[in-house]
Every structure is written in structure tokens, then in C-alpha cells.
């Protein structure tokens, strides 16, 4: 007995040590493994200083930055060595030690308000290239004596104002967006202003503050211009295109190899068919499946471009799905970031922590893994891959219990990486396949590390096995844990069920219990067969040929029920005669 306990303790200790070592190694390597590297934006960017008499401001034309109204202005750049004055323009590229933020300062004595006395006017222009070029949690700040008045875009909701590098607290500041409407806001004790729309920030903002002595300070702030649906957007899509290309090549090679293998092994007929045309006419019906596809596509578009419609209204919501928050134009944040970065989570304010856990709890109870089946962009990507295979009639890989057990192991490894890597100084984002998807569609140039390779694996595996990644997704598993509380449920009528196994074949998550369960708590006619893995995609209900055998329920009400005639209607005979009769009437 004692020996056994000793052994168990040793085993646990060994496992923990092993995991730690693996985690550290993974964290170390994953960060340095490049898949696709964008060259330094500074190497492409150029800076022109134009004395054209316009207001002091920066504008962007692709990679070319122009400073307007520069006559008499001092131009500064933020470098690794601090603020540096720059005299000349950089027509070809910017020096490597630049950090991508520029400022220009000009002072004058003018009468701006027309009261007859001239005030000292300080005009500043500032720009941050990083906003769509790379990701930093907070934008750059000069905070030096050369720039007397400065705004810093701290996060996507807050601006902080500084006067002579000190926070400007309790000041009335006029904010003028590009459309010319004026608004007065008061800074708080930290010198911060909230509630400025992300859409206004894109167009360029002007902050004006009049000091008690009558001095006027204005700053024009410009982030890198909107790049969606331009040539630059296409270039941001490049890594994703590369991923798709590699995935297609992998799939083609795989199909070819399988064909050779089957021929060599002299397998019986059928297993070699690569592509085929379906001779039967396909009929399309509006159904649950249609709703799911529409929701998936709309939510993808909203998640990637949604902030263009609503600004940062929903920015506090942290949806627990893999829609990469590296894309700053997201409608909402993604819960995965904070969950896998405990250091960031616990360093943030209690309001944010509460918001995160609150959203998570609400999502888990209201939707559960419905989010996986309907909202997650990674799910859409895999479903598209699966549909491509269906259209080509290429044979997939049918998982049996043994293979699925292997996949479950991978899930636990992902789980440990997801929750644990933050503690050893790594980042799950280095592994995350979602990094290649939403940011690319949002026009966000993101260099990819190991995650790029993982995305290729996700696409290839998703092609041969529907929603393969969802089976190992740590986020989804965490979301599925409280499924007993969730309002969406899958119910089975064990009496009506003939246990034909169609649901098991159809299930992208390989949930076998749906068809094998014969008795459960309570009524055998409404057994709750929802499991942690169930993403409530409705495939099992769609493929169920028995009336009422399977049903999806919301708050106990059936919203989608299996129906034999619906199942069979693909094979209904064409009835042109009846139509004609109706026409005659």
C-alpha cells in the first residue's frame, strides 16, 4: 500500500516536471519559429516633410507618410534611444532604430479667438504607424520635454493627455474629429479621456486645450490610415494565402499517396476514387443548416469588420472563441487572450477581470458551445474546407474510437499549453492557428510564427476530418464544461431511436454516446445527451431518420427536431404535374 502511494507521488512529480520542461521548451522554440515574416515596416515607410501651408498634420499614402504645414516646425521621431530631432525627410526608408512614431511641434503667437490679444499657440502633430502594422498593447509615447503637449492612445478606448510629460488632469479639452464637429470632454485624474469612437480615430483627431493663462495647445493625432479592401489589404492576406496554398498542396499529395497506397495494397474497389461528379440533382432547402451557415458568415464578417459599424461599444465583451484579438478592428475581444495570458489578466483592473469572467459565465450559460458551432471563425474555416471535400467527393478519414483517443490526448496537451504556458513566460498565441485568420481579413499585417504551421495543419486535417481542430480546441473544451447549465441542449428519445449510428457518423466531434445511450436520468423519451464536446451544430438531428428521435432544445423548447420526411425529401420524386394543375387553377 505504502509502496503504491510512493509510486503515485513519484509519478505525479515526474509528470509535473515533464510538463514544465515541455512547456518551457515549447515556449522557447515557438516564439522563434518563423512561418511568415513581414519585413520591418520602417524599411518600407518613407517620410516627406511638406511646407504646403496646411494645418500641421500627418497623412498616409500607403507606406509614405507626409507631414503637412511643416514650415517652422521641429520634427521628432521616437527612436530606441529616446526622442530624436530629425531635420531631413526620409524618402526611401526609415532608420532601423526608429519606433514608428513621429511628432512635429511649432509654436506661434497668434490671436486665435478674436479677442484682440494674441496668445501663445503650440501646435503639435503626432502619428503612430504601429496601429495597423504590428501589435503593441499600448501605443508609443514620447513623454519628453521637446513635445510640450501630447496624447497617447493607451488602448482602444482611452486617450491620455500629457502636458510637458505630466498627465493633464481635470482639463476641458475640445475634440475635433475629421468631420469638423466639436466636442468638449474633461480629463480624469490620470489625464485620460474615454468614449472616443474608434471610427473617429481612424480619420484623425484634433485635441485643443486652452490653459488658464490663455495659452492654446492643439494636437492632431493620426493613426495609420484604414487599409481594408486596398492593395495593402491584399498584402496583409498574403500569409493566409500562403497557408491555403500549402494546405492545398498537402491535400493533393495526401490524396495521391493514398491512391498509390491503395493500389499497392490491392484494396478492393472504390477506395481510389479521387474526384467524382454526382449525377443526381442536388436539391437545396432552407433549414437549420442554412441558418447555421448564415450565422457563421455574418458573425465572421461582424467579428472582423464589426467595429467599423459600432466603434468600440462592444469592446468590453470578451467572447470565448478563437477570433484573434490581435486584429484591433474586432467587434469584441476574444476571451482566449486573457485566459491564456494570466499575467495580463491579473495585471488588469478588477473591472476588466470581472468583465472577462462575467462575459464568460453569461456565454457559457446562454450559449455554451453553440458559439463553437455558429460563431467561431475557426469553425467557419474548417467547415469551408469540409464542404470543399464534399464537393470533390474525396474520401475523408473516418475516426474510430482508437484514433479518437489519440486526438483526446492532443487535446489535453493543447489544454496544458493554453492554460499553462503563460506561467513559464511563453504565449499561446505563438501556437494559435487563429492568428492567421481574422487579422489577415482585417488588413492587419501580422508576422506568423509556429501558428502558421498549425493553421496549415488545421486546414489539412479539417479537410479530411470535419472540424478536426475543434476536437482539440482548449477554449471550446473550457466553454463546454458547464454544459449542464447551458440553455441549449440536445435531447434524445431513446425509444424512437433505432440506434442506426447516423448521428455518430455525422457528428464532427465523434460523440458516440448520442447513439448508444439507452437510459438516462428521468424520462427515456427526453434524455439529455449533450456532452462537453457537443458544439450543437445540429448535424446529428439533420441526419436522423426517425421522427422526434433527436431534438435540439432551448430552455426546454424544441427548436430543431428530427423528421423522417424531411430526411427523405432529397429523394422525393419530381412532381411537375401538380404544379401545372395549380397553374391552371
Amino acid at each position: 500500500m505504502q509502496k503504491k502511494t510512493k509510486r503515485t507521488v513519484l509519478f505525479v512529480l515526474f509528470t509535473v516536471v515533464l510538463f514544465t520542461v515541455v512547456l518551457c521548451a515549447a515556449a522557447y522554440f515557438a516564439a522563434d519559429l518563423p512561418f511568415f515574416q513581414y519585413d520591418d515596416p520602417l524599411a518600407r515607410a518613407s517620410l516627406t516633410v511638406a511646407e504646403d501651408g496646411e494645418d500641421l498634420s500627418f497623412t498616409y499614402e500607403n507606406d509614405a507618410i507626409t507631414l503637412h504645414g511643416a514650415s517652422g516646425a521641429a520634427v521628432y521621431a521616437l527612436t530606441t534611444g529616446g526622442t530624436a530631432a530629425i531635420g531631413e525627410a526620409y524618402t526611401a526608408s526609415l532608420p532601423a532604430d526608429f519606433l514608428g512614431s513621429f511628432a512635429a511641434v511649432s509654436t506661434a503667437t497668434e490671436d486665435t479667438d478674436g479677442d484682440g490679444t494674441a496668445e501663445r499657440v503650440t501646435r503639435v502633430a503626432k502619428t503612430d504607424m504601429e496601429f495597423t502594422q504590428g501589435y503593441t498593447a499600448a501605443a508609443n509615447a514620447f513623454l519628453s520635454g521637446e513635445i510640450p503637449f501630447e496624447v497617447v492612445y493607451t488602448d482602444r478606448k482611452t486617450f491620455t493627455l500629457y502636458l510637458d510629460a505630466q498627465p493633464l488632469a481635470g482639463a476641458d479639452v475640445t475634440v475635433t474629429p475629421a468631420d469638423g464637429t466639436e466636442r468638449t470632454v474633461i480629463t480624469d485624474e490620470n489625464g485620460s479621456v474615454e468614449g472616443i469612437d474608434l471610427n473617429d480615430v481612424r480619420g484623425g483627431l484634433r485635441f485643443t486645450w486652452r490653459s488658464g493663462e490663455g495659452d492654446v495647445y492643439t494636437i492632431h493625432y493620426q493613426v495609420e490610415a484604414d487599409t481594408v479592401f486596398t492593395v495593402r489589404w491584399l498584402s496583409a492576406m498574403l500569409p493566409f494565402g500562403v497557408i491555403v496554398l500549402i494546405a492545398v498542396i498537402c491535400i493533393a499529395v495526401d490524396v495521391w499517396l493514398r491512391k498509390r497506397l491503395y493500389q499497392k495494397a490491392d484494396m478492393p474497389a472504390g477506395k481510389t476514387g479521387v474526384t467524382a461528379k454526382d449525377l443526381r440533382k442536388k436539391r437545396r432547402y432552407f433549414g437549420f443548416e442554412t441558418v447555421r451557415w448564415v450565422v457563421m458568415i455574418v458573425s465572421f464578417a461582424l467579428l472582423v469588420f464589426g467595429s467599423r459599424l459600432t466603434g468600440t461599444v462592444f469592446a468590453n465583451v470578451q467572447l470565448p472563441i478563437f477570433a484573434c484579438p490581435y486584429n484591433l478592428d474586432q467587434l469584441t475581444g476574444a476571451g482566449c487572450y486573457l485566459l491564456s495570458h494570466p499575467d495580463v489578466l491579473f495585471a488588469s483592473s478588477w473591472r476588466e477581470i470581472l468583465g472577462f469572467f462575467g462575459t464568460f459565465a453569461v456565454c457559457a450559460v446562454l450559449f455554451g458551445r453553440v458559439l463553437c458551432g455558429f460563431v467561431c471563425p475557426m469553425g467557419l474555416l474548417q467547415d469551408v474546407a469540409h464542404e470543399a471535400r464534399q464537393a470533390l467527393h474525396i474520401e475523408g478519414i473516418a475516426l474510430n474510437e482508437r484514433l479518437y483517443a489519440v486526438l483526446r490526448m492532443v487535446k489535453w496537451v493543447m489544454m496544458i499549453l493554453f492554460l499553462g504556458i503563460g506561467f513559464v513566460g511563453g504565449s499561446f498565441c505563438d501556437f494559435c492557428p487563429a492568428m492567421a485568420l481574422s487579422p489577415a481579413f482585417g488588413g492587419f499585417k501580422l508576422s506568423l510564427g509556429l501558428g502558421g504551421f498549425v493553421t496549415v495543419a488545421v486546414l489539412v486535417s479539417g479537410f479530411f476530418k470535419r472540424r478536426c481542430f475543434c476536437n482539440i480546441c482548449p477554449m471550446g473544451f473550457v466553454l463546454g464544461l458547464p454544459h449542464k447549465l447551458s440553455l441549449f441542449k440536445l435531447k434524445k428519445d431513446a425509444v424512437a431511436c433505432t440506434e442506426c449510428g447516423a448521428c455518430y457518423e455525422a457528428c464532427p466531434m465523434e460523440i458516440k454516446s448520442v447513439f448508444t445511450v439507452q437510459e438516462g436520468k428521468g424520462d427515456v423519451r427526453a434524455i439529455d445527451v449533450t456532452t462537453t464536446d457537443c458544439i450543437l451544430c445540429g448535424e446529428c438531428v439533420r441526419r436522423c431518420p426517425e421522427n422526434n428521435a433527436l431534438a435540439m432544445t432551448f430552455c426546454g423548447k424544441k427548436i430543431y427536431t428530427a423528421d423522417r420526411m424531411k430526411f427523405m425529401r432529397d429523394y422525393a420524386p419530381p412532381r411537375p404535374k401538380k404544379k401545372k394543375e395549380n397553374d391552371n387553377e
Binding site: G270, H393, A398, C497, T498, C500, A502, F515, M565, F567
Partner: protein, 428 residues
Amino acid sequence: MSDDPVRRQGPPEERRRQRFISKSSAVSLKYLRRVEELPHMPEALTPFLHILGHVFVEQGGAVKPEHIPTVGTYCVMVPPELIYAAGAMPVKLCGGSYTAFNIGDDVAPRDACPLVKAVMGFETVGAAPVYRECAMIAVPVTCDCKKKLAGYLGERRPTVALHVPSGRDRDEDMERFVEELYAFGAKLTELTGAPLSYERLSWACGLTAAAQYELSRFITLRRKAPLVIKGTHYMAAMNAMSYTHISLWTRHMRALCDELEQRIRNGEMASKENRPRILVTGSPIVFPNFKLPLLIEEMGGALVADETCMGERGAYDPPAIVDQSTDGILRALANRSTRPCTCPTFVDNKRRLYRIRQMIEDYRVEGVIYHVLRGCLVYDYEYRAMEEELGKLGVPIIRVESDYNEEDVEQLRIRIEAFVELIKYGKR
């Protein structure tokens, strides 16, 4: 007793054959008449009876387009889709002939079931073109009798034995059955020369699914109370499926459904409201062994549903093709052929009980007749569990054991009459 043509032409053999043919035709004709004489026969049923008449009375071959080879099958575990895809046509050879049973009695051991004895009788005599014309025979190894039958047929004909798993929950078993189907497909390709491509399989699945669509329609109509069609008529239609090309059967079935819909609209029902509603389950009821359904309806019962493999179950479960590829279709076929099957040859029997429970509810069944062919052990085993389950539901059940001869008809008549009266009395 062999297939040797020289011996068969010998006068005693030939005489025996002629005697066999005329006798079995006479029995078949008698039962066909009795089916026809039942009141409320829909007109659209006539083609089905013609098919049965063509095969059993006129001793013709399967009803099909010319130059399509036929493949004989036993049990519902042989997917017809595979055979249609290969350009052949399946014929269900489970025999119900009393005449053939008498001959098979000499060949098979005493305790073998009459169905297998009838099949062996046909094989021995070498009569009935439906059996003779089969280019290949597929026998799923379901029960002991079928196992030995596969061996017996294998000595005389090109025969494929399909190994059916005895449990259905393990994925490995399922995958082995998929391999069996692949091997069967290869044999079919050897026979017809048509490879099992996705196109052909998909087309064949479309063919059978169209039939299943009509059958589903038919089942929906049948659930209406009171009865729209006599159970015996329904059994005849389902039996005819075994000897017809599926596209022809689909056409006849569509016409039948249309007529029944019309009858419902006109309020013409096939039975009165208060007839005891009876379900038959158990061993297969194969034409011409129609004594049980005929007796039920002649004794005033309404045969509302059946759960036998030559009846509803024969084509009830559609394949759910999830993966649109060759492998996907074969997996779907393998799944469909074994997993939902309520055949008691499998280890577990819970789902069979549930199935009956569901049918009792769907068809508002008031009594269950459990048909056991003498020697059909697996069905006999399940009777006890079924009795217990139905006892809980309060639905009466009787076990009716019978053989392929007419000696027990009177005894059966008394028991069924009593059972029908019991239900009637219980209702009052």
C-alpha cells in the same frame, strides 16, 4: 439430389420436379386468391400481386429489365444499393414455400428452421427460376442456420458469405463489416464488370432512397386510424419488393400511396374503428406462408403493423450518407445494414424492445402476436424479454409457433380468435 444435368434429365427426377412445380404453384395460387379475396383491396395493389403471381404461380423470373443479372440475397444485412450500383439486381431468396420445405426437410437437420429448409428444398429440386437465374448468392452469416446454408449453397453456386458482427457498439466491428462490403463489392465487379465508383453508388442510393421515400409516405398513411390498407395486402406489397427491380416497385408504390391518399380523402377505410389493432413481430413471414396475417384479418383483427424482415423492416432504414464519397457511402450502407437492425441475432436486445414500444405508440397497437418459426431460436429467446416489457405497458402478447405446413392452421385459428376476443373484451 445434385445439380448434375445428366441425372436431372432422368425420368424420376424430372417427374419429381414437375410434381413439385405444379404443387407449389397450386399452393401459391391459393394464397394469392385469399389475399385478393380480402375486402377493401386497393386497385393499385394489383401489380404487386401480379409480381407474386409471376414468380410463384407462373414460375417466372424476377421482374426486371432484360439482361440484368440477379444476385440472390438473404436477410436485410445485404445492402441492395451495392448490387444496383454494380449493375445487377438483388432478389431476396428467403423462402416461404410449403412444397420446398417438405423437400428441404430431408436435407436439413430436423431442428433447422423451415425458412432454411425451404431454401434448401428449392436448391435441391432446381426449380423456381427466381432461384435458378441468380448469378451469385450473398448470405450474411446471421444465425447458425444461415451459416450452414452459406456452406451448402457455396458447394453449388458462386456464394459470398458476409460476416455480420454480433455486436454493434464497437467501431472495430463496424469497420470490419465495411471491409466485408468492399470485398463483396469486388466480387460484384467481377460479376458485372462495373466498378463501384462514387457515381454509380450515388445513383443506386438515389434509386433505393426513392423507394424508401414512397415507403415512408406509405408508413405515414398507415399510421392513420382506422386502417387504410389491410395488413395482409401490405405484406404482399412488401414481399413483392424482393422480386422486383426497385424502380418498378417505386412506381407501383407511388401509385398505391396516391390511391390511399385519395381513399382517405373520400373517407374509405379498410377496417372499422373498433377492430383490435394487432402488431406482428418475430420470424419473417414470406409469401406464400401468409397463413398468420390472413388468419388475423379473417378473425376480425386489424393487422396494423409488422416488425418482420420481409415486411416493414426490410426497407425501413434509409442510409444516412453523411460523407459524399465512395468510402462515405459504404460506411453509411454498413451502418444502415447492421446498427438499426432489430434482428435478434445480435447480442443486445434493448433496442428491439424500444422499437416495439415505439411502434405500439405510433400505430396504437392493442395486441402483439409474436411469430416464431419452429427452430428459429434467436427469436424464441427474445420472447421472454418482450413479454416482460409489454407486461409493463399492459399490452397483451401471445407467442405463436408455426411451421411451413397447413396442419397447424386450425389450431392457430383458435388461438388467434381467442386473442382477438381477449382484446375486444378488454376494451369493453
